[in-house]
């Protein structure tokens, strides 16, 4: 179905090729995952399949590509539209028409397809992606997962034989990502559609795919093989795979279910009892902050947006130096709570107080100006693009210092800690998602707030970038900064947080030490926690430490 021979491509003005001497063959009906670090050429490869590269981007291409018997390099995207459907990352930027049904018909109308055929195809696609109930809705009122399914449906009406998706779930929360992946699996199974998908969060997809293409991105050749064979050769993998490789489990478990079998075999050795005893100690030690003063105190907070209650009777105390993770479904009030703490939103009822240095009185956000609160609280919004506007990273930091009326600093320590020294004089918007995220973080931290709030900091990051961010946050915590994190990322929470506050429908559902919450929750638990169901074991390190003491 897809065949590449010695494909090399260089973007205009680039010194190194984005794709180098790539040869591969994908059979009809295959589900292929493309993985690799950011910038390894995953997006470029997908765009080669429908001719956007080189027709839309320019640059030089050599080698041959053939998709569904056609040559995209010769035909260009318009000639490939009915052979390859391409879906991009951002579900918001892909719509031409406001109404779902019209959006699906749009491409067909432009191709001059007969109205009778068109009607039939739209109906079929609405059912294939289970979005028939959304047909009259405006795309602006849909949730992220619904939008992405509509975007897939919109390319499916042209009946392509290959569906290429560029990180379609990276902007979605876990539930929405699940919806989209379910839809893809169904298309692949029922229609025999060839699906080629790039994705960072491997744990979401490895169980579904037939083969994996690994693009290392550092000049080494690409690997295309069975999932287990590829995962053996790759360094950065989901916790389950990492653990399995460290403990020598074979064949590699791809799902928690497969992993549990190995756990059961080992548990026969009755080590589990001892671990249970240790669990209590660990849970206690990580939560022993009863005596430190409060940094944030939220009391009976109520807030509603245009009559829709967003927060109901929320009470929460964060102690100085504590690392609290706010978790919960989309729309459960996580971001609203963060905005309340930084004073962007004011309580309808109840109050939020920010502790100051030991001497002065706590700040009540109802009366304090935002300018006063941000001296103590830094807030990194979900989308770093909302912040960045300067010509260089350094100027971006200078701007924050100036706005806070702080003396200019040289930023070297902060930039070094975030690994941004090589980019200090680059234009922030040219950087990758992960780098932009870190620049936004630096632009907030440069004002030296005692409390740092982060909203979904790992969205769109690959494993390497996530590991770097995790390490950075752990260091910040060790230096005594108070951190509150709103996130869906259970692995990050398992590694960093002391405490988890689970919000549901604007209310606090659970508030407790991370080990306890994770071992008791089915949804908000790390992979390792799901595997062992033991409060002492949340991360790969926990398990390996236990094994070394044996």
């Amino acid at each position: 179905m897809i065949r590449c021979e010695h494909l090399t491509y260089r973007y205009p003005g680039a010194s190194t090729p984005a794709l180098y001497d790539l040869s591969l063959q994908v059979e009809e009906g295959e589900f292929l995952l493309v993985m690799g670090p950011s910038g390894a050429g995953k997006s470029t490869l997908l765009r080669c399949l429908n001719g956007l590269v080189p027709h839309f981007y320019g640059g030089t291409v050599s080698g041959r590509v053939q998709v569904a018997g056609r040559d995209p390099i010769a035909l260009g995207p318009r000639g490939m539209a009915d052979a390859v459907g391409l879906v991009l990352q951002d579900p918001e930027a892909q719509f031409v028409v406001d109404r779902v049904e019209d959006e699906l018909a749009f491409a067909l109308e432009n191709q001059g397809v007969d109205p009778v055929v068109m009607r039939k195809r739209v109906e079929e696609v609405l059912d294939q992606l289970s979005i028939a109930h959304l047909r009259h809705r405006s795309v602006n009122t849909l949730s992220g997962g619904e939008r992405q399914r509509v975007a897939i449906a919109a390319v499916m009406t042209l009946q392509p034989r290959v569906l290429a998706l560029d990180e379609p779930t990276s902007q979605l929360d876990p539930q929405a990502a699940e919806e989209v992946l379910d839809a893809l699996v169904r298309l692949n199974h029922d229609l025999g559609l060839t699906v080629i998908l790039s994705e960072h969060r491997l744990e979401r997809v490895v169980q579904y795919v037939d083969r994996i293409l690994y693009l290392p991105g550092d000049g080494r050749p690409a690997i295309l093989d069975e999932p287990r064979a590829v995962l053996h050769q790759v360094e950065l993998t989901p916790p389950l795979i990492t653990l399995a490789k460290a403990l020598g489990w074979s064949p590699l478990p791809l799902t928690i279910k497969e992993g549990r079998q190995f756990v059961r075999q080992q548990a026969a050795g009755s080590e589990q009892q001892a671990a249970g005893g240790r669990a209590q100690d660990i849970a206690g030690s990580r939560y022993a902050r009863r005596n430190t003063p409060h940094a944030i105190s939220v009391q009976n907070l109520e807030f509603s947006y245009n009559g829709h209650p967003a927060l109901q009777n929320v009470s929460l105390e964060v102690r100085q130096g504590e690392f609290v993770a706010l978790m919960g479904r989309n729309g459960s009030g996580k971001t609203t709570l963060l905005k309340q703490i930084v004073g962007l939103l004011k309580p309808d009822r109840g109050r939020v107080e920010i502790a100051a240095l030991p001497s002065s009185r706590p700040l009540d956000t109802r009366h304090a100006a935002v300018e006063e609160i941000i001296q103590r609280v830094g807030y990194v919004p979900q989308n770093p693009n909302a912040l960045l506007f300067s010509d260089t990273v350094r100027q971006e930091l200078d701007f924050t210092r100036r706005s806070h009326r702080l003396p200019a600093g040289d930023h070297h320590t902060l930039l070094a800690a975030l690994g941004l020294i090589p980019y200090a004089d680059r234009y922030p918007r040219d950087l990758s998602v992960g780098e932009r995220q870190r620049v936004a973080l630096a632009a907030i931290l440069v004002a030296e707030p005692q409390i740092l709030l982060l909203d979904e900091p790992t969205r769109g990051l690959d494993y390497r970038q996530k590991a770097a961010l995790t390490a950075f946050l752990q260091r910040e915590k060790a230096q005594g900064r108070t951190l509150v994190l709103a996130t869906h990322d259970v692995e990050l929470v398992a590694r960093c947080a002391d405490r988890v506050v689970l919000l549901g429908d604007g209310q606090v559902v659970v508030d407790g030490p991370v080990r306890q919450v994770m071992s008791e929750s089915l949804l908000f638990a790390s992979q390792i926690s799901k595997l062992f169901r033991d409060p002492a074991l949340l991360t790969v390190e926990d398990v390996l430490a236990l094994h070394s003491t044996r």
């Binding site: 995207p77 318009r78 391409l86 719509f95 031409v96 191709q111 919004p381 909302a386 706005s403 907030i444």
Partner: protein
């Protein structure tokens, strides 16, 4: 709901009196009819809330027009009070006639806005786009994209404003706009590029039959001569009163040439329409009613023009004249509101 073309007919029938008649009685009738149509049919539409903005702007015009006219126009016999005569512009007698004239002007603007707001709320925009002639289609697509883009940009602007505020950004002068505008522009540009990619990938703009060299030449020539002749004709009409006939001939020829060029071009674009909407008997009724409204206006203008216009200043009377047939015809504009309920249900059922 009704056919897009019946709504276009309704818009024309309602907008013509709103634009041409400066008579508060007729204006009030049109305003009332448009209001009814909106409340009966437009409220459920996704952009129905924009109605509030339109109405607010209309009332603002009304509120501004009254004092503006009252203060600047000093003609009239019924003097309410006097301002010192040495005050520039506003000094002199303030008359009831001028106040009323201001109110009528404001009412006219309010009516126009409400008519368009009602049309905007009841019409299906994409159906309207489908009804546009092919040569206008690309421009229509741009408008359609803008309509999906704008709400997103508003959200994005709010997000940026909050994010910069937390960084300590304060608005003190024009230079402080930079941190707000730059990210907005950059975001919009990034989105636009992604949208362009998606549209390209979905085969947009694949014209079935490419133009031959000769066709392209013909179209360009027709457009060019059409434009030239239109411009010359219009300027003759405006500046050379002696050449009225020639002016008219040239203008008409210009419009004809342009339309011809567009038509040739439009024939090259092969598009089909997803689900042609059905024309029900209610649509026929509305179209007839609209034709009746326009006919009544034309007849009244030809036979009794004095009963249409309104001039509060002497020698006119303060009480506006009224022509019963025209008033009755204008009431017909509320017809969609009466026919609406059933038609709407039927349409939803057949599309389910």
């Amino acid at each position: 709901m009704f056919h897009t073309l019946s709504w276009v007919a309704w818009l024309i029938a309602a907008a013509v009196p709103a634009f041409t008649l400066r008579n508060p009685l007729y204006l009030a009738l049109v305003l009332g009819a448009a209001w009814l149509v909106y409340t009966a049919l437009g409220r459920t539409s996704p952009i129905g809330h924009s109605w509030g903005t339109f109405a607010r702007i209309g009332f603002l015009f009304l509120a501004l027009a009254v004092p503006f006219n009252a203060l600047s126009n000093h003609i009239g016999q019924i003097v309410l009070f006097r301002l010192p005569a040495n005050w520039p512009i506003i000094g002199g007698p303030i008359t009831l006639e001028a106040t009323i004239a201001g109110a009528v002007n404001g009412l006219g603007l309010l009516t126009i806005l409400v008519v368009f707001a009602a049309f905007n709320a009841v019409v299906d925009h994409y159906q309207l786009l489908r009804a546009t002639p092919p040569f206008l289609f690309p421009a229509g697509v741009v408008v359609s994209i803008a309509m999906t883009f704008v709400p997103q940009m508003v959200l994005s602007a709010r997000e940026i404003h909050q994010a910069q505020r937390i960084r300590g950004h304060r608005f003190r002068g024009v230079r402080d706009l930079l941190p707000l505008v730059m990210p907005l522009l950059a975001n919009a540009l990034e989105r636009a590029i992604q949208l362009a990619e998606t549209m390209e990938a979905r085969g947009f703009g694949r014209i079935a039959t490419p133009l031959s060299r000769r066709q392209a030449m013909t179209i360009q020539l027709a457009t060019l001569t059409g434009l030239l002749s239109l411009l010359t004709g219009l300027s003759m009409l405006a500046y050379l009163p002696g050449y009225r006939l020639w002016g008219r001939v040239l203008t008409i020829a210009g419009v004809g040439g342009l339309l011809g060029g567009f038509a040739v071009q439009g024939r090259q674009v092969h598009r089909t329409r997803y689900r042609r909407s059905a024309w029900h008997w209610q649509d026929t009724v509305i179209a007839l009613a609209c034709a009746l409204v326009l006919t009544a206006l034309v007849v009244a203008r030809l036979t009794a023009p004095a009963r249409l216009a309104y001039n509060p200043f002497p020698p006119g009377s303060l009480w506006p004249p009224f022509n019963l047939p025209v008033g009755a015809a204008l009431l017909l504009l509320a017809l969609p509101a009466l026919l609406g309920g059933r038609g709407q249900e039927a349409r939803w059922n057949d599309s389910m």
